[in-house]
């Protein structure tokens, strides 16, 4: 068999494309599973694709008084979401050329930029619910930042670098690494961060639009047409990106391509999407098991996540755990 190898830029592009086209699929699976758990038939698994297609065909309506920011925001966010997959281990165990553009902290910054531009676009619309959602999102985002930082620190001190590839390699190296207290704590802390960032129970109801509890959903309320499609796609991509970081860096970094052969890369794609769907199902189960926290109690939730992240750093730093 011919040992053709894919060149690195191709693999890098494949990473992006996987995230781009796999994200709605993962979203669809999650909604479907959630519906099934609730005893309904659930929407089609491919429904998000149809939704996006429909939205791109619709006309864009812009509120009075808003400026170009309203239309540019979604585009900026979308581009950010296209950039981040270049930096994190999506399909491969080795670093790809553009992957050294930024470390995990850089990836975090870019994600924050995306969230910022969506929020700004929402504020621009002058509509009360959008502004409400935007301000709440920014507040809770600021409260999550320290936790994310400490998780990054935990990753950093365990591997002495802050490249996500390195941590994945460490975790793969032996099974005792997985049960290190610092690793478990950091993983759980990051799990809670993902839960908060993707707007799931107990922080926010993902489906439906309850104004009292809207955080992320509220920001996009006034958009329509193609920008709205970009926003929805972007948010699905952000979800998949966060899942990818959780899976490929912390929890289950197996199944990634170790070389550049097309077969391994081709296998890595369904492996990733499969694992993401499993994580999504876990989130769906959590969605149906707990109730949403009242807004002022979300700080307790974030404090718990912060606690776990701090403990991860301390236990490692001071105990060799």
């Amino acid at each position: 068999m011919a040992q053709t190898e894919l060149s690195a830029p191709v693999i890098q592009a494949l990473q992006d494309l996987t995230i781009l086209f796999g994200a709605p699929l993962v979203s669809g699976v999650i909604s479907h599973v959630e519906g099934r758990i609730q005893g309904r038939r659930g929407p089609r698994i491919l429904q998000p694709y149809y939704d996006l297609a429909k939205l791109f065909r619709k006309e864009t309506v812009v509120p009075e008084g808003s400026s170009w920011v309203f239309l540019v925001g979604p585009i900026i966010a979308f581009s950010c979401y296209l950039v981040v997959p270049l930096l994190i281990p999506v399909l491969t165990t080795y670093g790809l050329p553009l992957g050294y553009m930024g470390d995990i902290l850089g990836g975090g910054f870019i994600l924050a930029l995306a969230g910022f531009s969506v929020a700004i676009a929402g504020t621009e619309s002058n509509a009360p619910y959008a502004q409400l959602g935007a301000s709440r999102a920014m507040t809770f985002g600021a409260l999550i930042e320290p936790t994310i930082l400490f998780v990054v620190f935990a990753v950093g001190i365990i591997t002495a670098t802050d490249l996500p590839y390195a941590l994945a390699a460490t975790v793969r190296s032996s099974s005792s690494e997985i049960v290190r207290p610092a690793h478990i704590l950091a993983a759980v802390a990051f799990f809670l961060v993902v839960l908060a960032d993707t707007g799931r129970i107990p922080v926010e109801t993902h489906s439906g639009t309850l104004e009292f509890g809207m955080i992320d959903e509220g920001r996009t309320l006034e958009h329509s047409g193609a920008p709205f499609a970009l926003l929805k796609w972007g948010s699905a991509m952000k979800q998949l990106i966060l899942y990818t970081i959780l899976i490929d860096v912390f929890v289950a970094p197996w199944g990634l391509a170790a070389n550049q052969r097309p077969v391994s890369v081709a296998l890595a794609i369904p492996a990733l999407l499969g694992k993401a769907m499993v994580v999504g199902c876990i989130f769906a189960v959590i969605d149906n098991s707990f109730s949403k926290l009242r807004l002022f109690k979300i700080t307790e939730f974030l404090a718990a996540a912060f606690l776990l992240a701090v403990l991860a750093v301390l236990v490692f730093y001071l105990g060799g755990g």
Binding site: L311, V315, L318
Partner: protein
């Protein structure tokens, strides 16, 4: 940078100690007194499992006896006594404290950091000693203090004290596993007697004031 994964004993002790600390934090948050008691029972169970781990890896057979005794006492008897008091008192909510849960968690985190750094400053050198577990047990003690200081009802304060004893037990299992069994049994017996006295006083307090709150305990001043 220490990169090697810790030995089995150290790793297991560390994970268990972290669980004990997390349970302590959960007690800070628990709004119902029943949940606090159950968290204490769970914490005692975790400590018992640590005793079994230490007994197995360090080949100290006496600790199996100790584990059995502490299971009976701390997981079964003490929670029973307190739950019976609660059902008689018909009070279910913990007394509110001056701070919200998030603030108390922050204070407790700060206190744990202090504990970690002070034990770290001791530069305990041996590789056979899991100093993370020791630091965590001191953190449990200090967070129990925070719990006692900030909560304003007798049951929360009593559970806080019992969980403090759990923290000290973790410390003793980690560094003093060779302490003669008779001494460990004496400690447990002491705890039992202390629990009985706490129970008596709680019941008397409830009998007089019909609440479990310590707000009325402010007559004696100066």
């Amino acid at each position: 940078m220490p990169n090697a994964a810790p030995s089995t004993f150290t790793g297991a002790a560390d994970v268990i100690a972290v669980l004990v600390l997390l349970t302590e934090f959960a007690m800070l948050r628990a709004p119902l007194l029943r949940s606090q008691v159950r968290l204490y029972a769970f914490q005692s169970l975790v400590v018992t499992s640590l005793a079994i781990v230490v007994a197995a890896t360090r080949h100290v057979d006496e600790l199996y006896v100790l584990a059995a005794l502490s299971f009976i006492l701390k997981v079964v008897i003490v929670p029973r006594i307190v739950l019976r008091l609660l059902s008689r008192a018909e009070v279910s909510l913990a007394g509110s404290s001056a701070f919200g849960v998030a603030t108390m968690t922050m204070i407790a985190i700060a206190v744990s950091i202090f504990a970690f750094f002070s034990i770290g400053a001791l530069h305990l050198q041996s590789t056979a000693l899991p100093s993370a577990a020791l630091a965590i047990s001191v953190a449990v003690v200090l967070v129990a203090f925070v719990l006692i200081i900030l909560r304003s009802d007798v049951v929360s304060q009593a559970i806080g004290f019992f969980s403090l004893e759990n923290g000290v037990s973790v410390a003793s299992l980690v560094v003093a596993s060779g302490l003669p069994l008779i001494v460990d049994v004496a400690f447990l017996f002491d705890l039992l007697v202390a629990v009985v006295v706490f129970g008596v006083l709680m019941r008397v307090h409830h009998g007089r004031t019909k609440t479990l709150s310590t707000d009325s305990l402010d007559r004696l001043k100066g």
